[in-house]
């Protein structure tokens, strides 16, 4: 059972001692201060509606992940012969040409990381919302991994950008961008903002399992 405190915060946290932490410059201010004295950022004990904002961005990202996989990310034009390749198609192509290492890099960066990240944020939001003791340290570590790997999914978009710039030899061989590139970039950006919006301090306000 969660132990009963008079305040909603754990007693050794700054919020329980009447202090607000500025998320930008990390200066403390007494509770009731509207804006940080040093940098002017709006202050509140916890990020307002953090879980709701995270979840809504997450759902948008999940929806956009569908067109990102359905449409081609890249169109190769070889002597007038057009080949459209999706993200998964590209991985299969690498597997067929026995470049297992690249296949693994692309598979991890564009399939495992985005899906794993979305699952991780959903799990964090669920844990922060329900009224049960949680494993705080483990969840915080999971959050850190999620935040760290977030931008690495952009690898796929950068690969396309470089190939498109490099391979433009007129009718001989040229590569064009596909519609999926925009959706995939949006998925990455939305999940990054979603992870950033999640306030890990909510986890520490709960009781340890």
């Amino acid at each position: 059972m969660p132990s009963s405190h008079s305040s909603p915060y754990q007693k050794d946290s700054a919020a329980a001692q009447g202090l607000l932490n500025c998320l930008v410059c990390q200066q403390l201010a007494p509770i009731g201060t509207q804006h940080c004295k040093r940098c002017g950022t709006f202050l509140s004990p916890r990020v307002k509606n953090s879980v709701q904002i995270s979840l809504s961005l997450l759902i948008t990202a999940a929806i956009l992940y569908i067109p990102a996989n359905m449409y081609p990310i890249m169109v190769t034009d070889l002597l007038g012969d057009e080949t459209k390749s999706t993200i998964i198609g590209g991985i299969i192509l690498f597997l067929e040409s026995e470049s297992y290492f690249i296949a693994a890099v692309i598979f991890i960066a564009s399939v495992i990381v985005p899906i794993g990240k979305m699952a991780a944020i959903a799990w964090l939001c669920f844990s922060a919302m329900r009224n049960k003791p949680i494993q705080q340290l483990e969840l915080t570590k999971m959050y850190r991994v999620t935040e760290f790997i977030g931008k690495w999914s952009m690898v796929d978009v950068f690969v396309v950008a470089i190939l498109v710039a490099l391979i433009q030899l007129g009718g001989l061989m040229s590569i064009h961008v596909g519609a999926a590139a925009t959706s995939f970039a949006s998925v990455v950006i939305l999940t990054m903002i979603s992870a950033h919006q999640f306030d890990t301090r909510l986890l520490w306000d709960k009781t340890e399992e």
Binding site: R38, Q136, V155, M173, A185, R201
Partner: protein, 203 residues
């Protein structure tokens, strides 16, 4: 009255007292959630300024010279770093084009310039840009600088085309190969605690 050495952990809100002196190469870590709060370095100001200037010079080289050359059956094409963004733009994909430009060039450069400016203004009275404003800018752009991600992207793209044609890696490529890890190192040394102490000194 709030004690100057009091610090609330960003990730778990634990109230801790910061040590007066953080010894070289040792980190201040939150005792509860293990979040790294500050990184110890004896001469961070000079060290970071020197690294920032080096990184900016490397970036200048990366932007002004050829990046990669690609030749197959008599046809040759050489691209610069900027073309990774402009080529997308000319194909009508302006959103990704802008994103690529912002993530790999604009934000890293903006970050380096801001940090150098903050360090320099603690020594000289520069009054061109409000320093606190720069500190806020850094806080917002840092998660979006993707120099190291782009480097991996370049390597993957190279392996993809290396069997198709003759690839020559030009000066800008090597400059960027040096730039990306250097940038990551600078970001590691300039933790938030140190950055805002510099800003306080410069005010």
């Amino acid at each position: 009255m709030i004690d100057e050495h009091q610090h609330a952990c960003l990730e778990c809100d634990l109230l801790i007292t910061m040590p007066e002196q953080i010894s070289h190469r040792s980190n201040v870590v939150c005792p509860r959630c293990h979040h790294v709060i500050a990184v110890g370095h004896n001469n961070a100001r000079h060290y970071v300024l020197a690294l920032c200037i080096t990184a900016l010079i490397l970036m200048l080289i990366a932007c002004s010279f050829a990046f990669i050359s690609f030749a197959t059956s008599g046809q040759q094409r050489t691209i610069g770093l900027l073309q990774t963004s402009t080529e997308l733009y000319s194909q009508g994909y302006w959103l990704i084009s802008v994103l690529v430009f912002v993530f790999i060039l604009l934000l890293p450069i903006l970050y380096l310039l801001s940090v150098s400016y903050i360090i320099l203004s603690s020594r000289f009275a520069l009054r061109l840009v409000p320093i606190v404003w720069l500190g806020k800018v850094i806080a917002y752009i840092l998660p979006w600088s993707m120099a190291e991600v782009f480097l991996i992207g370049v390597l993957v793209a190279l392996i993809k085309v290396i069997s198709m044609a003759d690839i020559t890696l030009e000066a800008a490529f090597w400059a960027y190969v040096l730039f990306a890890p250097l940038f990551t190192h600078i970001v590691f040394i300039v933790d938030n605690h140190r950055l805002w102490r510099w800003i306080e000194d410069a005010k």
